[in-house]
C-alpha cells in the first residue's frame, strides 16, 4: 500500500500536495467548462441539453467509484481490523454523497427537455436514488452514534452491503427496459460518442477527480486530527 495506510505518511503526503491539486483543478475546470459550454457541438437530437452530460456523467461515475472504495475499505476495516481504512471511508462518504446528489439533480434537469419528465421510476434512476440514500444513512450514522467503535462497525456493514447496489446501477440499463440510455463509454468497448464530446467529458471527469482527491485529503486530515484528539484524553 506504499506506506499510505500509515496515517502520518498519508498526512504528510496530503499536506504537501494540496496546493498543486488546487492549481490542477482550477486549470482543468476552466478549460473543461470552456469546452463543455462553448466549443463542444450540439447534439442533433437533444440540442444544447446534451451539455448537462459533462457534469452529470462524471458525477455519476465518481459517486459509484467512491462507494466501491468505501465498500472495499469497510471490508478491510471489518475483516483485517485496520482502523485507518474506516477513516478513509468516513472521509470519502460526504464527497460521494454530494456527487450522488449532483447526479440525481442534474439527471432530473436533463430528463425534462429530453424525456419530458423530471423523474420516472426507471431502474437506473431508482437504483441511483437507493445509492444516494445509502450515502445519507452512512453519513448520518457516523453523526448520530456517539460510540466511535459501534459507529465504525455499523457503517462498515452498511458500506459492504451497499456495494450490492453497484452492479445493479451499472447493469440496470441492460437488465431492464429503461428510459435511461445505455452506457456510451465502457471499459470493454470503444466509446460510441464523438471525440468532440468525449474530450470535454473526460476533462470534466479528470477535474472532478482532482477536486474529490483534494476534498478527501482535507477531510482525511480532519478525521485523523479529531481521532487523535478524541483518544488523547
Amino acid at each position: 500500500m506504499f506506506g499510505l495506510q500509515n496515517p502520518k505518511t498519508f498526512f504528510n503526503f496530503s499536506s504537501s500536495n494540496i496546493f498543486w491539486l488546487k492549481v490542477i483543478f482550477l486549470l482543468t475546470a476552466i478549460v473543461g467548462l470552456f469546452f463543455a459550454l462553448i466549443i463542444s457541438p450540439k447534439d442533433y437530437l437533444q440540442q444544447d441539453a446534451v451539455r448537462i452530460m459533462y457534469v452529470h456523467v462524471p458525477s455519476s461515475w465518481i459517486s459509484l467509484f467512491i462507494f466501491a472504495v468505501i465498500g472495499f475499505s469497510s471490508f478491510l476495516s471489518l475483516i483485517f481490523k485496520i482502523r485507518v481504512f474506516s477513516v478513509y471511508a468516513k472521509s470519502l462518504a460526504p464527497i460521494g454523497l454530494v456527487f450522488a446528489f449532483i447526479s440525481l439533480s442534474t439527471g432530473s434537469l436533463w430528463g425534462y427537455p429530453t424525456w419530458g419528465t423530471f423523474w420516472t421510476w426507471d431502474a437506473r434512476l431508482t437504483s441511483m436514488m437507493i445509492l444516494f440514500f445509502t450515502y445519507v444513512l452512512y453519513v448520518v450514522l457516523w453523526r448520530w452514534i456517539e460510540d466511535y467503535f459501534l459507529a465504525e462497525k455499523i457503517t462498515n456493514i452498511i458500506g459492504i452491503l451497499g456495494c450490492i447496489n453497484l452492479p445493479i446501477i451499472r447493469y440496470s440499463v441492460d437488465w431492464w427496459n429503461t428510459l435511461h440510455q445505455p452506457s456510451s463509454i465502457t471499459i470493454s468497448s470503444a466509446p460510441t460518442i464523438h471525440a468532440s464530446m468525449l474530450f470535454p467529458l473526460l476533462l470534466m471527469f479528470f477535474s472532478f477527480c482532482i477536486l474529490s482527491l483534494l476534498i478527501f485529503l482535507l477531510r482525511y486530515k480532519y478525521e485523523i486530527i479529531s481521532f487523535r484528539n478524541k483518544f488523547n484524553d
Partner: protein, 61 residues
C-alpha cells in the same frame, strides 16, 4: 417565438445544472476547509499513530 423560448428553456436547465454542481462542490470544499481550520493539530510520533489506528490495540487507546 416558441423556438426562442425553447432554446432559452434548455439553456436555463443547462445553467441550473452547472450552478447546482459547482455550488454543491464549493459548499463541500469550503465546509471541509472550515472544519479543518477549526480543529487543533497535535503532533504525535509515527509509533503513536500506528498504535492508535490499529484495531487490535483498542484497549491501549
Amino acid at each position: 417565438m416558441i423556438e426562442i423560448l425553447n432554446i432559452n428553456l434548455v439553456w436555463l436547465f443547462v445553467i441550473a445544472s452547472y450552478l447546482i454542481t459547482f455550488s454543491s462542490l464549493a459548499f463541500l470544499y469550503f465546509r471541509s476547509v472550515k472544519k479543518l481550520s477549526a480543529i487543533t493539530y497535535v503532533e504525535v510520533s509515527k509509533e503513536e499513530d500506528i498504535k492508535r489506528f490499529s484495531k487490535t490495540s483498542i484497549q491501549k487507546i
